[in-house]
Amino acid sequence: MSRMLDETLRAAVRDLADGVRPTPDLAVKALGRGRRLRRRRRATAAGATLVAVVAVALPFVLFRPAPAPSPATPPVTVTPSPTMLPTPGPDWTAKPLVLPGGWIVTRAQARGGSGAGMLLDRARGHYFRTDRYDGIFPAPTGSLVAVRDLDRPREIGLFDLANGKTNWYEVGRALSVPQWSPDGRRLLFTTRQVDRFGFIVMKTDGTKKVHVNGTEGCSDFCEFTWTRDGRQVALPQTGESHGESQRDARLGVRLFSADDGRRTRLVPVPGDPAGPWSWSPDGTRVVVQGQQEPLLVETATGRVLNPLPSADVAWVTDDRLLYRRPLGSNDFVLADPTGRELIRQPLPRQLVDFEVTVAPR
């Protein structure tokens, strides 16, 4: 590169940086966001403290007799509204929080993974609070929890709830958050190392396979995810048109063998599955984030069956979906595939603003 070109680039990059407008209240905003992390920690700690105090009063709240209907109350009519379950009491940490459909909450943490989180210890049957790590990702079965630490960006820790030990493994550079395979035996990472895009599959003994294959026809939201059988990983495929205002249109998702990284097939669905539980158990349907909204689609044809309120769903059976409502207090709902809510479960107050992970019981 010529010296003048070098200087021209230097001037242009500085020109670009000079375009920034000062933010006079940067310190206040940064402090506010940082304090919110601390408040979440305090709220979680306060919740644990309240358990002993409120437990005495809880039975009276739960089992108090329903008030007698007023004579002026109009006759009750049957409506299609979902069955509303009670908000779990303050002692919810003492046992697994079972959601409609039988799945359980295994982890709750602030979005982005900062601050304290709650983890389910399956063997002991209760939750505990932890702030040792910057991200906690429990396996869907067993006692292992993948953990990350911003000071060790190339590594992943496997924290074993059974013995309290954490083993760290070097995975690679520029990693996505880890995703567990449905059987809890392997971890999947998208690697965005400069000029080396691909995926890494790591077993729980730390052995790994790196598959660098370039972006492979994906231009945005390029994240590898497991399929439900845990034998393949999926990468969204985009077309020619790109825009900033919305996601690029999807041609489908490309499947790769998790064992050897080879391409297997293209599933022509117009969006991105969030993870392995997005695929129906019988494999005929998948919930994806479409260009505009979450969609339920047929895997064989890509035909859109109907929109849904959330793309982050778990098929608990072939005709029931579990997801969090995107608005309000973000209750969990068990719905049919059309999105008709059948059972609604509010979360404990401490978890409402948290990102929650669920798994089969």
Partner: protein, 173 residues
């Protein structure tokens, strides 16, 4: 203890915030995205403030580059800003066209993929060597060179007068 941390943190942001925001802007390419990127990095730094030893600025910068390039921040990823059409090639060479080319070049930088923009930001805004850039981005020096070459090729495509401008400037010096 919290008051001490808050005071130190506020002093740090007041002192270094503008400088960090400038880096974030070069990385993200827009005011809103830059503020979001920096706020997130600062919040993470605040959460770990007592554990940061020494100067916090390199720590915050590391988070900025890491978040921008690696995609840990899954929901907030930035990507290249497409330009609908190639900028028009100027027909006459004079100083006004040099200014125009500078403007076009600035816009073209915004259109680069985040990784290429991160490489150029480290090399030309922060004046780091290839080796230092590679260390921060967690890649080999050869990768920094290839990303720079790709960025340059893309800039040449977006700003057809780029070579003409630099060649002319060298001849007239």
């Amino acid at each position: 203890m919290a008051d001490v941390t808050d005071g130190e943190f506020t002093d740090f942001v007041n002192e270094r915030g503008d400088k960090l925001l400038r880096v974030a802007y070069a990385l993200a390419g827009s005011q809103h995205a830059a503020e979001d990127l920096l706020q997130n990095a600062l919040a993470k730094a605040y959460a770990r403030w007592p554990r940061i030893r020494g100067d916090a600025e390199p720590y915050v910068k590391r988070i900025l580059y890491h978040d921008q390039v690696s995609g840990w921040r899954r929901l907030s990823r930035r990507r290249e800003v497409p330009m609908a059409e190639l900028p028009e090639r100027p027909g006459v060479c004079d100083s006004s066209h040099d200014s125009e080319l500078r403007l076009l070049l600035r816009e073209a930088l915004r259109a680069l993929p985040p990784r290429q923009r991160a490489v150029l930001t480290l090399r030309y805004l922060e004046d780091l060597s290839v080796a230092e850039t590679a260390t921060i981005l967690g890649c080999r020096a050869g990768t920094v060179a290839s990303q720079t070459a790709k960025a340059l090729a893309r800039l040449r495509q977006l700003v057809p007068g780029l070579d003409e401008m630099t060649t002319r400037a060298e001849v007239t010096q």
